[in-house]
Amino acid sequence: MASHGERCGVVVKQCEDELAVVNMAIGAGHAGVRAMCATSGGGFALMTEGVGMAGMIEAPVVIVEVQREGPSTGIPTKTGQGDLNQVYGASQGDFPRVIIAPTDTADCYWTAVESFNLAEKYQLPVMIISDLLLSEHPETIEPDDLRHDVPIERGEMVADWPGGNGPYKRYACTPTGVSPRALPGTAGAEYVSPTDEHDEEGIVISDVFTTPPMRRKIMEKRMKKMDGVLKELKPPQLEGPLDAPVTLIGWGATLGVIRESRALLAARGIQTNHLHIKYIHPFHAAEVTAILRKCKKLIGVEGNYTAQFARFLRAETGIGVHDTILKYDGEPFEPAIIAAEVERLLAGRPLNLDVSVEDAREMAYHYIRTHLADAARPTEVELADGNSHGEPLWHVQVVDRSSGVSRGQLKIGVRTGSIYAWEPVAAAAQA
C-alpha cells in the first residue's frame, strides 16, 4: 500500500504503537480526509479508548480488526473468530458505531467502500471485523467484481459559515442526529471537539455544571444516528429451502465454507438452510427474529470457544441456538468438518473431544521437534490402558527419521491430551 501512496493520493504511516495509529487516524478523519487503520486483536485492545473518542467527537474513522487465535498473543499465525466480544465491547460508555464482518475477498473491497461512506455520513467509527484467513489468503476473483466508480458519500458538510448565521453548532441536535460537519479550515465555523461531554457548540458540560437535560439530549442525538445507519444496511436473507430441518447460522468469513458444507450435506440427503450475518452492529433484530422464528433446528457455526456470536444473537433477538459447531484450534473450518458435525448433531451423538489417532500423531511430531531435534517420526499408534494415569493412552511408536530404527514410545492421554511419558528404547527394554 505504501508503494502506491503517491500515485493514489494516500498517506500510509506505520506508527510507534496502536495508540498512535488509531489516534492519528481519528485526527486525520476529523481534519477531513478518509482515514483507516488496521490491526489484530492485541493492537485493537490498545485502540479501544480511541474508538470511544471517535464516537464522542463524531469523527469518521474506519478500523479493521483482523482476528487471530487468542487469547493474548495466542496463535498469531492462525485464524479465529474470537474477538467479537472485544470489538462489540470496545471502549467505555454507549456511543454510536458500526461493526461489519465481510464475508469474502470481493466483499472486503465493497465493505471498505461502504464503511467509509457510513463513517462520513454518520460521523462515527466503523469497525470491520475480519480474520486472518480472509485477510491473508490469496484467491482468484473475477475482475468485474471490483469497480473503480464506487459510490462516495461524504454526508452533510458545511462549506462556509457566514457571520450572520449565528454560531456554528458542530453538534447541532437534529431529527436524524447527524450534525452537518464543517472541516477545520472552514471560515467562520471554528469549534473545538471535546472528548468530555459537550453541548451543541462543543462547549464542555462535564465539570461543575453538568446540565443533565443537555447531556440527555446530546446522548440521544448521537445514538439516534444508529437508526439511520440500520436503514441503510441490507438485511440478511435465508439461503436454501425454508422448510429445511436444519439452519446453519454463521457470520463473517465463514460464508463460503458453510455454503460448501451445505452442498455436501445435500448430497447425503440432508437439507439445510443458512443465515449469514455481515452487519453485526447495528443489528437487524426484527428481520433476523422473523426469519429464525420460522426455522427448525438452529446450529451456530463459529470459530471460537464460547460461541460469542450465538450469545450476541440471543441478546439481540431472544433466540438461542439449539447447538453449536465451534472451532478454536487455529485452523479454518472445512466443509467436511461442518458437515460431519451436523450429521453428528442430527444423530444425537455427543461431542467427542478426545485426542484422535491423527491428533496423537501430530502431538508426537511436536514432541519430536522440541525434544528429539526433529530427527524422528511417529509410526504406529495404539490404544492402551492408562493404568496409573486414570485415562486410556495412545502409545505412539517413534522411529529414527533416516534409519527407521525404533527410538522409543510416547504416552499421550486420550482425554486430556497430556504427554505423560517419553520412553526411549533403552528404558523400554529395561522395563
Binding site: 503517491e6 500515485r7 485526527g27 486525520a28 481534519a31 480511541g50 473503480h148 479550515g185 464542555v204
Partner: protein, 293 residues
Amino acid sequence: MATVVEMPLETYQSIIEPDWCPGCGDFGVLRALEIAAQKLRLATKDIFVVSGIGCSSNLPGFFHGYGVHSLHGRAVAVASGAKLANHGLHVVITGGDGDGYGIGLNHFIHAMRRNLDLTYIVMNNQIYGLTTGQASPTTSKGHKTKSTPRGNVEAPINPVALALVSGATYIARGFSGEAKHMADLIADGIAHKGFSLVDVFSPCVTYNLINTYPWFKQRVYKLEDDKGYNPADMESAFTKSFEWGDKIPIGLFYKGDELTYEDSEPALKKGPLVHQPLGLEKNLFESLMEEFY
C-alpha cells in the same frame, strides 16, 4: 493561511472563561498563545489546537480556533493525524507534563524524530494538578507530594535534553511570569518548519508550593541575554539543558534545520491531502488491477 490585517487579541479568545485557579500559570500560556497568533496574523480558521487531558488541556476550549480536546496522552497523535490530513493548518498542541511526559511520552518522542511541523506547548507545573497534587514525571527529587509523602525518589524527566536527543528542531523554554517572552517563543515555534517544543514553567499555585512564581523569578534568566550563546550549537544546548538550581535558563535552547515529514511525504506534493480528490480514476484503477494479472 496568514491574513494581512493584524487581528485584535479578542479575535483569539473564545466565549468561555478559563476555569483555572486564580493565579494559575496556564493563564499566561493562553495569553502568550493569543499574542503569538496575533503576531503571526493567523486566521482563526487555520489554527488547530489539540490537547489531552488535565487542567492545562482545557486550553483549546478557551481559545478561538479549531481544535480537539482529546484523550489523556494522545494529543500529539491526534495532532499528527490532523497535520498529515491538512498541512495547511497551523497545528498547536497544548497540555501538561503528566499528559506529555508521562502517559503520552511515546508519541512525544516519535513525533520529534518524525519532525512533523507541529508546535507543542507543555504547561509544566511539575505536579498532577487536576487530581489534586501527586508527583508527576517532572516533579523534583525529594519533593513531598500526596503520592510521595516521604519525598519523591524518582529523578525527573528533562524535557529539553530529551527533545534534543529525540530530534526536535526547535526547543525552547518559557515561563508564565514572562508572557511576552513566551509569546515570542511560541510565535517562533509556530513559524518554524518542523517540530517545536516550548516547555513552559507554568506554576500550579494550588498543589505545587515549591516551584512557585517567586521560586522561578529568583532563578530564571534568558538565554537571549547571554550574547555568547548560539542556539544552532547542539552541544551548548545540551550543556544548558542540564543547568538547574540557582540559575535556570529560559528562551531558545536549540534551533535546527531539517526537512519536515510533510515535505518528505510524496503523497503530499500535490498539496494538503484534504484538498485532493477522492476516488480512483479509471485508468489508475485498471493499472492497479493489472498488478494482479
